[in-house]
């Protein structure tokens, strides 16, 4: 029987061949997407592992080396920037020959030597020295190995410096004590960076996983049931000549398993082929290393075995009717109409989400698991409800049918609402998943925007702290020299000093003093009320946008004059050119190597949105992926549907139905489940998003979907119709009069 099954699939002529190819391709696409999705999660884990060493400190969780055997290493990580990108600068100074070695280098850099990551090396080549290279004094001695990089585009440098104890720190705190940012470490940290994903972030990741995996599985199931009716006819013929149900099942199994197994192998190959491309998607803002998108052998083996097995099971389930009678086709009992229970699972899922806020939902991961399970339940529920919806739509079409084609389409739909819905189920599920994502993420984005602050200062202004602690700061004379140097740079319009206040209370409130003349040089700031020449302002208000809220007041000069006070921060106003900003940063880094690196106001603005914008990127990727799955699923089932309907359509054409009418039948058959399905799943999706937000302990509130959401929705439906329309020329070909004869 196995031989016969193989014979039927492999050398069964064009139609059998086409079916095998379509099914295998469908499974291949599904498996490849499944593996890519799973590997994406592995990539996120790998990223955490890669960031581990940058968290090296005096007490490492997993020391890279026995700390008793090493000499201490002076260590600090400075988070500089270039453009919008983080430039990590790891500064080290060995205290002995056995100081621990960071990953990716063969020896510690001596003072005046440095390593850079490949991306940074490339950037150094392309950038004028005064914008970047001048930040590194000394000699470039090599490129960092991959082990030291968080991503292929990571800008990282390992810089050797003189042991910091030798040189006095450049600034002192309020009490006049020297400030050091250096620590001594005896090993590198090898534990992964603890995932600091918030509850919300984990929820979104989980939704993404479920929202991608389930449609992929539905797609694989769709592919293996391709052209099922044609198979049933053939199996009925086999049964007639005396094949037992077991034998037919065996043949069906061989066919399904063959197609699914071929498809799965192709999918695994596809995974490795497309992995480098997927790795380039800046999922978290940075691309992945291709090798980090890895899969364990166990997972690959279980997919390679599991998918064909599942396909065999699905194939057998689909053959239930043929097992009843060898007259399977000619005397097929009309499939039972979908019942109302099909709305049950989705309704149950929504109800569970709705009551969640009123029962004490377990905290943390268990609560998320509950939400994910209900989310999965709603997805499966929509897949179950689809045929019922299609049937209702079909009844409407039939009742209002005024023409041959609408009557025919209505009847065909109500005869097989399940098959009709299966084709568009990918699109419907993608719309649901997309709607939930958009609802949840938009709420988070709106919240972040509402809380986020826009500084009144121009986005191209650069802020430089010069004091680590409240009231501390840089010596006034040195600051004056630095300001002069900065104002000399090309593209700098002004450099403003923020002085430390005299009173300790003011210092602890984060206030600082600005000369009124300097205040006027900062565009966008209103001049506060009061008499005098000095503005007292809370620094955070200045940088986070509340300078107008009244915290700034004008007063008289403090005792001893402003010039004698330490300078706690500088604001450098530039003409906005990227090169100007980088020049300023370079000068500041060289002059104030021990201070926290400078940041632009634009970076400060972006920081409050950073996590949410990462999530939004992930959602965009997720939605594109699920639409891709949906498109494949639709293409495969439309192609399969045409093969399946070859005979009835050929006969209809033979009896004189114009091709145009047949086209309308195909379009209506797609349109009814598609429009009903996407409509319902969009509403259910937005509803589910609102309920999910209510069920988790956040303050997020669902907003009305934005215009871009509707655009996405309309785009998805239009693309689906385009795919269906693209197959219409095929309809003419398969229904040529000759095809009716050979049946």
């Amino acid at each position: 029987m196995i031989a016969l099954g193989l014979r039927l699939s492999l050398r069964g002529g064009r139609e059998a061949g086409a079916r095998l190819v379509f099914t295998a391709l469908g499974v291949a696409v599904g498996v490849a997407l499944l593996l890519l999705t799973l590997s994406g999660f592995r990539g996120l884990e790998a990223k955490d592992v890669r960031e581990g060493w940058l968290l090296t400190n005096e007490r490492n969780v997993m020391p890279s080396i026995d700390e008793r055997t090493t000499d201490p290493l002076w260590w600090r990580v400075v988070s500089d920037s270039f453009g919008e990108d983080l430039l990590r600068r790891v500064e080290v100074a060995a205290t002995g020959p056995r100081s621990p070695l960071p990953p990716g280098v063969s020896r510690l850099p001596a003072a005046g030597e440095y390593y850079v990551s490949p991306a940074l090396a490339d950037l150094l080549e392309r950038t004028p020295d005064d914008q970047l290279r001048a930040r590194f004094s000394g000699r470039l001695i090599g490129v960092l190995g991959e082990a030291a990089l968080t991503s292929p585009t990571a800008l990282t440098a390992v810089v050797g410096v003189h042991a910091p104890g030798i040189e006095p720190p450049a600034f002192v705190d309020h009490g006049g004590a020297p400030v050091s940012t250096w620590i001594q470490v005896r090993s590198m940290e090898t534990a992964p960076k603890p995932s600091d994903y918030s509850l919300f972030f984990r929820l979104v990741l989980g939704l993404g996983a479920v929202g991608l995996l389930l449609p992929v599985l539905v797609f694989v199931a769709t592919s293996t049931r391709l052209a099922g009716a044609r198979r049933e006819e053939r199996f009925a013929a086999l049964r007639l000549v005396g094949a037992t149900p077991r034998q037919v099942n065996m043949i069906a199994c061989v066919e399904s398993v063959l197609a699914a197994f071929t498809g799965t192998l192709l999918g695994v190959v596809g995974f490795y082929v497309f992995r480098p491309l997927v790795a380039r998607i800046p999922f978290t803002g940075e691309p992945f290393f291709t090798s980090d998108l890895s899969l364990g052998w166990g997972l690959i083996v279980s997919v390679v075995l599991g998918v064909p097995l599942a396909a065999a099971a699905v194939g057998l389930l689909a053959l239930r009717r043929v097992r009843i009678s060898p007259l399977g086709v000619s005397r097929r009992v009309a499939p039972r109409a979908p019942r109302l229970w099909r709305l049950g699972p989705a309704a149950a899922g929504l109800a569970a989400l709705a009551v969640a806020p009123y029962v004490a939902l377990p905290e943390g991961n268990a609560g998320i698991a509950f939400i994910l399970v209900t989310f999965a339940l709603i997805i499966l529920g929509l897949a179950a409800a689809g045929p019922w919806l299609t049937m209702m739509g079909a009844r409407l079409v039939t009742r209002s049918a005024g023409s041959d084609w609408s009557l025919l389409a209505g009847r065909r739909l109500s005869d097989g609402p399940g098959a009709a819905f299966r084709g568009v189920s990918g699109v419907v599920l993608a719309v649901f998943v997309g709607s939930v994502f958009v609802g949840v993420i938009d709420a988070a984005l709106n919240e972040a925007r509402a809380n986020g602050t826009r500084a009144s200062l121009p986005a191209s202004s650069v802020r430089q702290w010069t004091g680590e602690r409240p009231g501390g700061g840089m010596d006034g004379a040195k600051a004056a020299a630095l300001v002069a140097k900065l104002e000399h740079l090309e593209g700098v319009t002004a450099a403003v000093r923020l002085y430390a206040p005299a009173s300790r209370t003011d210092a602890e409130l984060g206030n600082c003093l600005v000369a009124l003349a300097d205040w006027r040089r900062m565009p966008g700031l209103a001049v506060p009320n009061g008499d005098g020449q000095i503005v007292t302002v809370t620094a955070n208000d200045l940088f986070y946008g509340a300078a107008e809220s009244g915290s700034a007041v004008v007063g008289s000069e403090p005792a001893g004059g402003l010039a004698g006070r330490p300078v706690s921060a500088l604001v450098v106003l530039t003409d906005g050119a990227a090169s100007s900003i980088e020049r300023v940063r370079t000068v500041l880094l060289r002059e104030l190597p021990d201070s926290a690196p400078s940041v632009t106001v634009a970076q400060m603005d972006a920081a409050s949105l950073q996590l949410v914008s990462i999530m939004q990127r992930m959602v965009d990727v997720g939605i594109i992926l699920s639409l891709l799955i949906a498109g494949c699923s639709l293409a495969v089932s439309v192609a399969g549907g045409l093969i399946e309907r070859k005979r009835p359509f050929s006969l209809l054409r033979l009896t004189g139905m114009p091709l145009g009418h047949l086209r309308r039948v195909v379009l209506i058959e797609a349109a009814v489940p598609l429009l009903l399905g996407t409509g319902v799943s969009a509403v259910v999706g937005i509803l589910a998003a609102g309920l999910i937000l209510r069920a988790i302990p956040t303050r997020l509130i669902l907003d009305a979907p934005s215009g871009s959401y509707y655009a996405l929705l309309a785009g998805g439906v239009a693309a689906a119709f385009a795919i269906v329309c693209a197959t219409l020329p095929l309809l003419g070909r398969v229904t040529r009069i000759e095809s009716a004869r050979t049946e």
Partner: protein, 262 residues
């Protein structure tokens, strides 16, 4: 009923035991609300050629399907070689169909993915024959049926008459004891139809196979040893004694000629 019948007849005193007797008694079968058989009774002897006639929708195909074990009647019993067919499970009935019965239908019985040769060998392959043996058995049918050279063609590449001859060979290749033919010439022109009927009847006679032909064409029925008439789900005269046709004319009393009990 006495299952061993010894019949002395005019033609060669053929001994007919329960072995070859195929009998359906008081068969009832409905599809949903529609009754197809309402107490039909039928009987055929070994090697007999019986035409089942009747207008469309009279239930003749359903009768054939019940006799062949494709459908299970709602009431009544089907016996073949002394065994109750209607009480066997699906697998047993499949096995019986494979071993003892052959089928020639009007449409769709060829598996489109298989070549003519493979289609003919199919019942043997299903019965677990080795491929070379099954294929050499299948090839023996090509010359007598005028199918030489068509071994490698798929059903789409055969004419209607050729397809039907392939189906015929497939129905007979396992040398079944009964061949059921449902409108075997229904899709053929009259000349091809006659040719196929001749081949079918000749082969059946040569192999001693019982042939039950459902047809509404008198020309096809003329090849049969006897005719039964199905109307409204009943067989007009199961014992076939001087039954009359639509016009009231007695139909031929064929069973007597074959020594079957009246």
């Amino acid at each position: 009923m006495n299952l061993t019948l010894t019949v002395a007849g005019s033609e060669g005193s053929r001994s007919s035991t329960a072995e070859g007797i195929h009998e359906g008694r008081d068969l009832q079968k409905s599809f949903g609300q529609t009754p197809a058989l309402r107490g039909a009774t039928f009987r055929s002897g070994q090697g007999e050629i019986v035409a089942v006639m009747g207008p469309s929708g009279s239930g003749k195909s359903t009768l054939l399907h019940c006799l062949a074990g494709i459908l299970v009647p709602d009431a009544g019993e089907v016996r073949f070689a002394g065994r109750r067919l209607d009480q066997l499970n699906e697998a047993r009935r499949s096995e019986l169909r494979r071993r003892e019965f052959g089928f020639v239908f009007q449409f769709g019985q060829l598996v489109p993915e298989l070549t003519a040769e493979e289609n003919i060998a199919l019942p043997l392959l299903l019965a677990g024959w080795r491929r070379p043996r099954a294929f050499s058995a299948a090839r023996r049918w090509f010359a007598p049926l005028g199918l030489d050279g068509l071994e490698g063609r798929r059903s789409g590449e055969l004419s209607g008459g050729q397809s039907q001859r392939v189906a015929l060979a497939r129905g007979l290749v396992a040398e079944p004891r009964v061949v059921f033919a449902d409108e075997p010439t229904g899709s053929l022109d009259s000349l091809t139809g006659e040719h196929v009927m001749e081949l079918l009847v000749d082969s059946a006679r040569r192999l001693g196979t019982t042939l039950v032909i459902v047809t509404h064409e008198p020309r096809v029925a003329a090849y049969a040893d006897r005719e039964v008439l199905v109307r409204d789900g009943r067989v007009s005269d199961p014992e076939f004694l001087w039954a009359t046709d639509d016009a009231g004319t007695p139909v031929r009393d064929v069973p007597q000629a074959h020594g079957l009990p009246r």
